[in-house]
């Protein structure tokens, strides 16, 4: 598991644009598409966001497709379920297998849901691919979300990376010692890995907390914000 999105968010043409603007644009368009639920509008939003991501923010096409691939799989599977197993309207297509049919209302439900998911998802994509998480937390802090929430979020953000680093190191160590040679040893190694992961990470983050405390940490991590040109 790697955070390609995190890397992309820091390295694109829109990273330094006003965070409020990006958040407001993405969320308001998302809400409008969600509420109006119109197929044409969904399509327009999808295209507009793709232009925003690919042309304006200059994120490579490969990264964008990679970002969309998982939601495409999830959304199409879910909508196939809605298409075949839901509804009680007029039958418009009979597959002939186990009496599975496509009905008029389920067809409508599935297509509209699929398009809505896609339009909303590209808004989310626009936001996440162009905005680093630290900036989002900063905005949350400015709109008076309780400090303790931001603090835990920041600590958790660091801890997630500690977890991933531990995971990577331990997995490499196991692999070099042939820990994943066959299925049996793979299960055993995976068990060891996960049971130790938690404590290794706890140790590391306690060390981090001690070093923070010894430098006068009071629950706030002031961050440098580059001034706007």
């Amino acid at each position: 598991m790697k955070f390609d999105i995190d890397y992309i968010a820091h390295n694109n043409k829109l990273s330094n644009v006003n965070t409020y603007l990006k958040i407001i644009v993405a969320i308001s368009i998302m809400l409008v598409t969600l509420i109006l639920d119109n197929l044409l509008l969904d399509f327009i939003v999808f295209i507009a966001m793709a232009i925003g991501i690919l042309v304006i923010a200059r994120i490579s096409f490969r990264d964008y497709i990679k970002f969309l691939s998982i939601p495409i799989i999830f959304a199409s599977m879910s909508c196939l379920l809605l298409l075949f197993f839901f509804g009680d309207g007029k039958v418009i297509f009979d597959t002939g297998i186990f009496g599975i049919v496509i009905r008029e209302d389920s067809f409508y439900l599935a297509t509209s849901t699929f398009c809505r998911v896609f339009a909303c998802f590209s808004c989310l994509g626009f936001l996440t691919l162009t905005t680093p998480i630290a900036q989002i937390l900063h905005v949350l802090g400015e709109i008076k979300v309780p400090k303790i929430l931001i603090e835990i979020a920041l600590l958790m953000y660091t801890t997630i990376f500690i977890f991933l680093e531990q995971l990577y190191t331990m997995r490499q160590a196991q692999e070099t010692r042939l820990g994943y040679m066959n299925t049996r040893s793979a299960y055993r190694s995976l068990g060891y890995l996960f049971s130790n992961l938690f404590f290794k990470s706890l140790d590391k983050s306690e060390v981090m907390m001690n070093s923070l405390n010894s430098r006068g940490y009071t629950g706030q991590l002031p961050t440098y914000k580059p001034s706007k040109k």
């Binding site: 999105i5 998302m30 939601p71 998911v117 600590l155 706890l202 983050s205």
Partner: protein
Amino acid sequence: MHIMEGFLPPLWCAVWYIISIPVIIYGIFKIKKVTEEIPDSKTLLAVSGAFMFVLSSLKLPSVTGSCSHPTGNGLGAVLFGPAAASVLAVIVLLFQAVLLAHGGLTTLGANVFSMGIVGPFVAWAVYKGITKANISSTIAIFFAAFLGDLLTYVATSFQLALAFPDPTFTGSLVKFLGIFAITQIPLAIAEGLLTVVIWNGLKEYRSKILSKLNLFSNKESEAI
């Protein structure tokens, strides 16, 4: 169980937000209290949140507009109480939406309700119930994690069935439950076992903070 961005109609997005927000506010007060009383607990809080994040990122696609994965919410709920776990879940779900495009912002309320409120509450109630009966906390933690995970998915099925009551509410509830059950029961057992391993380790190496958080059954706290 993360319901995808845009999958729920706007009405239900709003409903789940309205239900979840009071619990989260209460949770923030709780967390404030715990971290003020026991400053060491901050790291444990962050680590159990990160644990929740890592576990619930191991997703398998499921055909229900969401996906199957362990939730990791049992541990946080038992350690800090259900309200605090709901705050952890908010942060985890926000990060997953923003870092992994997993879940979404409009469905955040619904996802918090299932993973942050129903799951942790069940886990906590099960844990308290079993330890009250003076049964070892190891057994209690297994059932807490197992049921916390499972009930999270039951809640998601309810949410999906309410949003897509087609043709009837019960009909679609049965469909969603059936699909989740296939992947979720083995995952929930695995999560239960993993949580037991972690719990035993915590008992061995961090018993001080656990007894400060007042988590043992009577017999065990006498032994310590």
